[in-house]
């Protein structure tokens, strides 16, 4: 059986996660696109912490007989991995786009200075 104290800590921690994520979006420090996975993490952990029988049942399915809260940690780890993987793809895209931007600016600067010197006329 899951110790009650662990369930309470789980509920408080996941509720806190959800509230922090919502506040970050409200303050425009987090875009919805990148918040959805965090919110899903928070909600799943909240449900598994609060609904103790479900946690025990899932633990039973997985053959975790000694200590059901281990499932909680496993699920949390899985979601953190998902978030990290998602961020790695986002980072890769941003890297490409950043290079593209720098290249565009370099070409533009050259073009602007050429147009400016042409409009001033020779000499």
């Amino acid at each position: 059986m899951t110790p009650l104290r662990i369930s309470i800590v789980g509920v408080v921690a996941s509720a806190l996660l959800i509230l922090i994520v919502l506040e970050l979006i409200r303050g425009r420090r987090l875009k919805e696109r990148y918040a959805l996975l965090w919110l899903a993490t928070g909600v799943v952990l909240l449900v598994l912490s609060a609904w103790r029988e479900a946690l025990n049942t899932i633990a039973g399915w997985l053959g975790v007989t000694g200590y059901p809260p281990a499932v909680l940690f496993a699920v949390a780890t899985l979601f953190i991995l998902l978030v990290l993987l998602h961020y790695s793809t986002v980072l890769s895209k941003l890297t490409d786009e950043n290079v593209e931007l720098a290249q565009r600016i370099a070409l533009l600067e050259e073009r602007v200075s050429r147009v400016l010197s042409e409009s001033r006329g020779p000499g």
Binding site: L22, I25, R26, K31, E32, R33, A35, L36, L39, D96, E97, E100, L101, R104
Partner: protein, 244 residues
């Protein structure tokens, strides 16, 4: 007829629309040759930018794909920087009929609204019948925005709209980057803009496919719902509109 609206710019976001973008530009210019057409090319892989340019549009080329909202906002930033008094926004795929522009501009001309949305459902004539799932989505979001924004909105997913200078300033500063229409409508209402809706006909897409595929619709619903709820928790400065 458009003298009191000052200088007008038409913002047309386009991604891989080389087959129809020329016609879209021509139709806007046919409606009123004094309207400057700005095509925002969202890093198309075809020659959308060249075609738009050859049809006389001002072309803003984004270096990489930023999504429909980011592309449209580029146009609004251009409108703000270049001092336009009025902006209209039409899709680059030809589904918004430029012949309907007069209807969109009329409430702005009478100074009754800051934002006019071309709606398919103000006075439905039965010609627009989206698939059931889509119809439910449109209905639910319209209800949600109406409740949260305090004014009845019939079509929050329409991208066919007209803005006065206040609206241009708002959307140049704040416009969602993906799936923007629903949230932008709520932001406008909460910022105190007065909204008018006019019935417009929309055409079927001529080429390509809608940007909303089945797989993306899940993300769409989750993102927009979250954005609406958070937007209703935010405080927006009430803008000085001409209508209050």
């Amino acid at each position: 007829m458009t003298a009191s609206l000052g200088r007008i710019v038409a913002v047309v976001p386009a991604f891989d629309e080389s087959e129809v973008i020329g016609k879209v530009v021509d139709e806007i210019r046919a409606f009123d040759p004094d309207i400057d057409v700005v095509v925002v090319d969202d890093a198309s892989t075809d020659d959308t930018a060249a075609v738009a340019d050859s049809h006389g549009a001002i072309v803003l080329r984004l270096p990489h794909n930023v999504g429909i909202g980011g592309a449209v906002q580029t146009g609004f930033k251009f409108a703000l920087a270049e001092g336009y008094d009025t902006a209209v926004r039409l899709d680059g795929d030809g589904q918004h009929d430029a012949a309907e522009l007069g209807k969109l501009l009329a409430p702005l001309e009478r100074r009754e609204a800051d934002l006019v949305i071309g709606s398919r459902f103000v006075d439905p004539d039965g010609t627009y019948r989206p698939p059931l799932a889509r119809r439910i989505g449109i209905r639910v979001f319209a209800r949600l925005v109406s409740t949260l924004g305090g004014q009845r909105v019939t079509d929050t997913t329409s991208g066919y709209l007209a803005l006065d200078r206040v609206g241009i300033e708002l959307f140049a500063a704040e416009y969602p980057h993906d799936y923007p229409e629903v949230e932008a409508t709520l932001v406008a209402l909460r910022s105190g803009l007065s909204l008018a809706q006019v019935q417009v006909r929309m055409r079927e897409r001529e080429t390509g496919s809608s940007s909303i595929t089945f797989l993306r619709s899940l993300y769409y619903v989750a993102k927009v719902t979250l954005a609406l709820l958070v937007a209703s928790l935010r405080r927006y400065p009430r803008l000085e509109t001409a209508r209050r």
